[in-house]
Amino acid sequence: MEFLRPATWDEALAAKAENPSALPISGGTDVMVELNFDRHRPGALLDLNRITELTEWESGTYEGQDGEVIRLGAAVPYARITKELSGPLQGLSIAGNTVGSPQIRNRGSVGGNLGGASPAGDAHPALLAAGKDVFVEAESVRGTRLIAIDDFYVGVKRNSLQPDELIRAVRIPVADGPQQFSKIGTRNAMVIAVCAFGFALHPKNGTVGTGIGSAAPTPRRAPEAEQFLADELAERGLWQSGGLIGPAAVQRFGELVSAAASPIDDVRGSAAYRRHALAVMARRTLTWTWNEYTQSLRSAAA
């Protein structure tokens, strides 16, 4: 097996262009497992660990995205996201905190999660919920391509990267409202999601974001649930009043989230359980974020 160790991003892109089948390795928490289990025998490994800018993040404004955006380097590990970005990327940082164990969170990255595109990846529901204007920066020697998060996941463990492309960063709008993430595992740490749910309130444009994990061939959002809730909040003037959403609407939202999933029975859980748990997580995360939102309204008024 060839082991390529580019020192710079340009060298990495050139190497990838030359060896499109080379497998990028970042934190290695997926790649090394695959290699050890002999599930994958790549002809070449492309080690991205020498490229420091991948482990950096910056904030700024970008075309096509409203307001402030965090440009998160592909290799920034979860532990740092939780530590450094728990405010601007609230949902992703909660999601990152559920990944594996401290050791895995010190190595594993969002770029790696996206590269693997597993339906069980915990970053995905949080990224979907963060908004439709979340973009994956895919780069190659041909240039930069911004892939909207909704177009990124194309099949089971398949993403829309071209063979010569690498993920440089993810552009995520800074949270303009409370965000949450919940995941089910059959033990209390270090567990792959049986199913997961990401949720975000976007008071600025009056929308809400959802993301479902491990309950369909790809991570996906629950569009009808998003629409229903956005309408409900707008029609009843709740964004302004901060009033109670009420059990009926919360219940309905949970049902719509659950209906958006297409889960299967497997060793980790039954399809019926996944549907049930998604509804519960949807109700709870909505309640938590709404409480936080109404509190912020109140303290702003006070």
């Binding site: 050890n36 289990f37 909660i94 740490a189 060793v267 359980y273």
Partner: protein, 791 residues
């Protein structure tokens, strides 16, 4: 003493304690640190997977992808021609016996004719690199005719329709049909309509226990080195060196004395190393190639490479009077033994004879049966047949208490055995049996404070923990109790003696004791305890532990909670013999007539005359080197039809109180606290005892809420730690431990085996607490979120 702070120590029946002549801080009763502890924590301990030899080859096995298939042909030509491959072997290349097995020699060293379970080894390869070996395996062509697997109780019971796992003429042992072994126990009037009529209240339940795995962290591994005399030296992580040798030698066509075993670093065992795994394969390849051969299983292979805990289906019926006295118990326990016998007969013996639990039940009728099937083989695992039964009878007792409107602890105490009680096998418990007291102890412990998410939210303390599923919603607390009955040592007439050699000599101006046994240190702390015994009996400071090997006699298995009792007892006997020899030396040299001699602080001391001489001066350059065998009191096999007989060496009891928080909406469980009380007779090393109780309880927790090997049509679906979940630190609650020390007059120092009892009652106590929180029946373990949410 208690894990958290101090509690009472009860010492009664001190007869056996009188021999203790010194109170050395690192002698018995102290808690010196384990000699291997620091190394293990620092990652410096050499495990069997770290073995290395110049010129060594790597062995690997090709395993069956089918649960049941006829082998039509095996073609190894292409594999053999691959550069770097030194040998490819099938059953045709085996020089000796083709079968092995612990109790019944029914398992082929390499499959022939048929494969009977998913993962059965068919061929083995030795190559100069693991990767070469892996590639060679891929080039072996095996033609299978896939057969319908025999996997359910219905299949097993009807061999005429569904077939035999072993054809009737192939049977070894007393098996017939698809039955490996069965055992009845009938006592009192048995159970019939007249007996049933004596009960005011009857509770009937059906229970199921899933297939648990030992999930030790050090995968199966070892190194076989061919010797000049044509024999083999095998360095191996195992539980019982001598019984490994007894099974390996005939397959190699060698006499036992040409197969020499040395214990390599063992990374946990829990019963899973009682059967052979890679031993025969490494030896065969070493014999064939004339080179050292190392085999290390991957995690996935490990799941196929050892037996598991028998899954069980049980039907229990209890009758009681209105005031809560048990009148009768009828039980049928069906165990899935899998493809080969392994320890199934002994597991059946335990399941049947311990099926009533620690209760006096005047009328009993029990049948325990283990089937052969095409599921993974099952055998020894911590708790050994008693775990399954305990889940059923403790659930029954809870239900009975509910039916009677009684407190579940009081109902148990009312019916608890005590010293002098008869068990249904007719065996009288002739040592303390403080079952009611143990229950009281856990009941009297203060309860953990209630959950308060209003004022203090730390999601790590909630079900789901960091997964962030609840901030207090849906959470209900429950409390449950359970107690169990376990035997110690091998039963039913088996003389599982232990041997120990103790050598005393002066080294560097100090008296030094060397202890040499074949005991497998699998993490239980036997090497620590041997040092403590030698210090106490010989009054020395320095003790060295000789590597365990087959140069000394058998130490029996590190299982059945027996090693401190049996090999510890042998060390005690050998040390006492050495001590007497030393006294005799003094008597003959100096004409001592004292009868009050002891060894304290490196000196010979007379209680009346004071210090007589230092051991250094008495010994000079002489060494005293003696070997002793320790046999426990004899037992007898159970009568096949009635189960009557003095079958068990010793009984041991542990009680638990579990406190759980359940997210009843999501079906997630957090065990908040798991308190245990156990009678250990005498805590030779209190710290180790607490470690055993907490570890055993945690393994029971795993069975209660997560650990299960899931099969479909005989195929294992989760052979990895990604999907076979074991408790993490966030699943493992604080575990206060109450120790009682009521000496057993038959045991060395009055001690009682400790390791298994806590594994029994932890599971039902936790499930009982989940039931209390949810109001659900929950008749199966592990309890999954689906069972709680009904989805």
């Amino acid at each position: 003493m208690s894990a958290r702070n101090s509690a009472t120590r009860t010492i009664r029946g001190e007869k056996n304690l009188q021999d203790i002549t010194t109170a050395h801080p690192d002698g018995i009763g102290g808690s010196p640190l384990r000699p291997d502890g620091t190394l293990k924590v620092r990652g410096e301990f050499a495990y069997s997977s770290d073995l290395w030899h110049e010129d060594m080859l790597w062995g690997m096995a090709l395993r069956s992808p089918h649960a049941h298939a006829r082998i039509l042909s095996i073609d190894t030509t292409e594999a053999l021609t691959q550069p770097g491959v030194y040998a490819v072997m099938t059953h045709e290349d085996i020089p000796g016996s083709k079968y092995y097995g612990l109790e019944i020699q029914d398992q082929p060293a390499l499959a022939f004719g048929k494969v009977r379970y998913h993962g059965e080894a068919v061929a083995i390869v030795a190559a100069d690199h693991p990767e070469t070996a892996r590639r060679a395996l891929a080039k072996i062509k095996v033609e299978y005719e896939v057969l319908a697997p025999i996997t359910t109780e219905e299949h097993c019971q009807n061999p005429e329709t569904f077939g035999y796992v072993h054809e009737p003429e192939e049977y070894r042992g007393h098996a017939s049909g698809n039955v490996v072994h069965s055992q009845k126990v009938v006592s009192g009037l048995g159970v019939n309509d007249d007996v049933r009529a004596m009960a005011d209240v009857v509770v009937v339940g059906e229970y199921e226990v899933g297939m648990q795995d030992q999930a030790f962290l050090g995968p199966e591994s070892g190194l076989a080195v061919p010797a000049e005399d044509g024999g083999i030296d095998l360095y191996i992580a195992t539980q019982w060196l001598h019984v490994d040798r007894q099974q390996v030698a005939p397959v190699l066509g060698l006499p036992e004395n040409k197969v020499r075993l040395t214990l390599a670093g063992v990374g946990g065992a829990f019963g899973g190393r009682e059967d052979l795994s890679m031993q025969i394969h490494a030896c065969l390849l070493a014999q064939r190639t004339g080179k050292p051969v190392k085999i290390v299983y991957s995690r996935e292979e490990s799941f196929f490479g050892h037996v598991h805990r028998h899954p069980a289906k049980m039907r229990y019926e209890h009758g009681a009077t209105r005031d809560g006295r048990l009148v009768y118990m009828d039980a049928r326990i069906v165990l899935d033994g899998g493809a080969y016998a392994s320890a199934s007969p002994a597991v059946v013996g335990n399941a049947s004879s311990l099926s009533v639990g620690p209760y006096e039940v005047p009328n009993v009728n029990v049948l325990a049966i283990a089937y052969y099937s095409n599921n993974p083989s099952c055998g020894a695992m911590r708790g050994f047949g008693a775990v399954q039964a305990c889940f059923a009878y403790e659930t029954q007792l809870d239900r009975l208490a509910a039916e009677l409107g009684m407190d579940p602890v009081e109902l148990r105490q009312l019916n608890a055995v005590s010293q002098g009680s008869h068990l249904p096998t007719g065996q009288v418990i002739d040592a303390p049996a403080p079952v009611a007291e143990l229950l009281q102890k856990v009941k009297d412990l203060p309860l953990p404070p209630p959950l308060d998410t209003e004022h203090h939210l730390d999601i790590r303390e909630l079900p789901g923990a960091l997964s962030n599923t609840s901030h207090g919603e849906g959470i209900v607390r429950g409390v449950g109790y359970a107690v169990g009955l376990k035997n110690v040592g091998f039963s039913e007439g088996f003389d599982d003696y232990s041997t120990a050699r103790v050598r005393l000599e002066v080294i560097g101006g100090e008296p030094v004791a060397m202890v040499h046994t074949a005991m497998a240190e699998v993490g239980q702390g036997g090497v620590t305890v041997h040092g403590q015994i030698a210090r106490t009996e010989l009054g020395v400071e320095q003790v060295t532990i000789h590597p365990a090997n087959t140069e000394v006699g058998s130490a029996g298995s590190t299982s059945a909670s027996r090693q401190t009792y049996m090999t510890g007892g042998a060390v005690k006997l050998a040390a006492e013999a050495v001590r007497n020899e030393l006294f005799n030396l003094g008597r003959s040299r100096y004409g001592w007539t004292y009868n009050d001699l002891s060894l304290i602080g490196g000196k010979v001391v007379s209680a009346s005359a004071g210090v007589l001489i230092s051991m250094v001066d008495l010994l000079g350059d002489q060494a005293i080197d003696l070997t002793r065998e320790h046999h426990h009191r004899p037992t007898v096999p159970f009568d096949k039809e009635t189960g009557q007989g003095f079958g068990h060496v010793q009984y041991t009891f542990c009680a638990h109180r579990a406190v759980v928080d359940v997210d009843v909406e999501l079906g997630l469980v957090k065990v908040v606290e798991l308190a245990a009380a156990q009678d250990v007779g005498k805590a030779l090393n209190p710290l180790s005892v607490i470690g055993q109780i907490q570890g055993g309880s945690t393994q029971g927790l795993g069975l209660a809420v997560m650990e299960e090997i899931i099969t479909k049509d005989g195929k294992v679906r989760n052979p990895s730690f990604t999907d076979y979940l074991i408790p993490t630190i966030l699943d493992t609650p604080p575990q206060p431990v109450e120790i009682m020390e009521l000496a057993d007059p038959n045991a060395p120092y009055g001690l009682r085996g400790v390791g298994e009892a806590p594994t029994l009652s932890s599971t039902p106590a936790i499930v009982s607490a989940i039931r209390a929180a949810t109001g659900l029946a929950l008749n199966r373990v592990p309890v999954r979120p689906e069972h709680i949410t009904g989805t």
